[in-house]
């Protein structure tokens, strides 16, 4: 089960770790911690939820603990609502290459509080509102409201890509 999960969601988990930790060394540790906790968790997996929900829940739990442990929780993380009102430092500059766009996107995500971060990561991974609700525990209305905000923020900050963020 662990091998199947690691094969199937390996890349997603790496992306998730990037969303929570900017420092490459710490990110590697976080990744390993996620895999380790995932391996431990399968002793209790009883198919009550889908494999994907289980994997993402474990990964987000480990990452949220990491945010708290690293005291990033005290470093002015913002909610989606607050992020929506913050000016974009890179406003007016088109990200000319994928790498720079990815950096901007990562910085944007890393400013968010853990719950909103869970929503935006799930959204970027192409999950539907029901799946996001199952992972985060937010109601469908709450998820819909947050996705609406995410789309607005992304459309504004990634000009051309805005039309595709649906």
């Amino acid at each position: 089960m662990y091998t199947e999960a690691a094969d199937k969601f390996g890349s997603s988990l790496e992306r998730l770790a990037r969303a929570y930790e900017a420092d490459p060394e710490k990110r590697r540790d976080l990744s390993q911690e996620i895999y380790f906790q995932l391996w431990r968790s399968f002793q209790r997996y009883d198919a009550r939820c889908s494999l994907r929900t289980w994997v993402y829940r474990v990964a987000h739990h480990v990452a949220a603990s990491h945010v708290i442990r690293e005291r990033k929780i005290f470093s002015n993380l913002v909610s989606l609502e607050e992020l929506d009102t913050l000016p974009d430092k890179d406003q007016g500059q088109f990200a000319s290459d994928q790498r720079r766009s990815l950096e901007r996107l990562s910085v944007l995500i890393q400013q968010l509080k853990p719950i909103d971060r869970q929503v935006i990561i799930s959204y970027l991974e192409d999950m539907d509102a029901a799946s996001i609700g199952e992972i985060t525990g937010l109601s469908s209305g709450n998820v819909a409201m947050r996705i609406h905000r995410i789309k607005n923020i992304l459309a504004r900050r990634f000009h051309e890509g805005g039309g595709h963020a649906e």
């Binding site: 988990l13 391996w39 474990v58 719950i115």
Partner: protein, 193 residues
């Protein structure tokens, strides 16, 4: 992979980022278990340091029998602190069934636990430490007064006071921020219903 026209779509950018999958092999997992055990041992030894430091202060008050009860109280307090602080720390490892909780439930629990540990630190670790320092400083001050050297001690005393106040202020601020976080999570839970 999406076509070139959607290259500025955040979801495409996100999903197409280069990754280096680092799934753990069984050997790596075993190594991780060993590291965790070592870390736990180091934490336990680190926590034992406080009562030992308090005991080390004893040398400073041997000549002042009147301060001995205060000193014994500081040791008892720090030992009790060791128990109370660690009691919940050992449950800090993520339970195997944590994935049965949603992100919201788990995060709330973690913030709550952090607030609890932060409060415990002030009450059970920092408190006896300050008391032990006081048990040493008081005789030093009386000695300084008798020998007319109190003025020389003022910089040291001032630094000590600044340090104690800073620790308390920082911890109190963290407590407030954690409480604010919990309030926000409560609001989310209310709108969730």
């Amino acid at each position: 992979m999406r076509n070139d026209s959607s290259r500025n779509d955040p979801r495409t950018i996100w999903q197409n980022q280069p990754t280096e999958p680092s799934a753990m092999t069984l050997d790596k997992t075993r190594q991780k278990v060993r590291e965790l055990h070592a870390k736990t041992r180091r934490q336990l030894l680190g926590n034992l340091a406080l009562p030992l430091i308090v005991v080390a202060f004893y040398g400073g008050i041997r000549q002042f029998p009147v301060l001995r009860p205060l000193y014994v109280f500081a040791i008892a307090w720090s030992l009790a602190g060791l128990y109370f602080t660690n009691r919940r720390m050992w449950s800090a490892a993520m339970p195997e069934d944590a994935a049965l909780s949603t992100g919201l439930e788990f995060y709330r629990r973690e913030v709550d636990r952090r607030r609890y540990l932060s409060r415990r630190f002030l009450l059970w670790s920092f408190g006896p430490f300050v008391l032990a320092i006081a048990a040493v400083i008081v005789p030093l001050i009386s000695l300084g007064i008798r020998k007319g050297m109190l003025l020389n001690m003022i910089p040291l005393l001032a630094l000590l006071v600044i340090w104690i106040v800073s620790v308390v202020v920082i911890r109190m601020r963290q407590q407030r921020e954690l409480q604010r976080e919990i309030d926000e999570l409560n609001d989310i839970e209310r709108t969730n219903k």
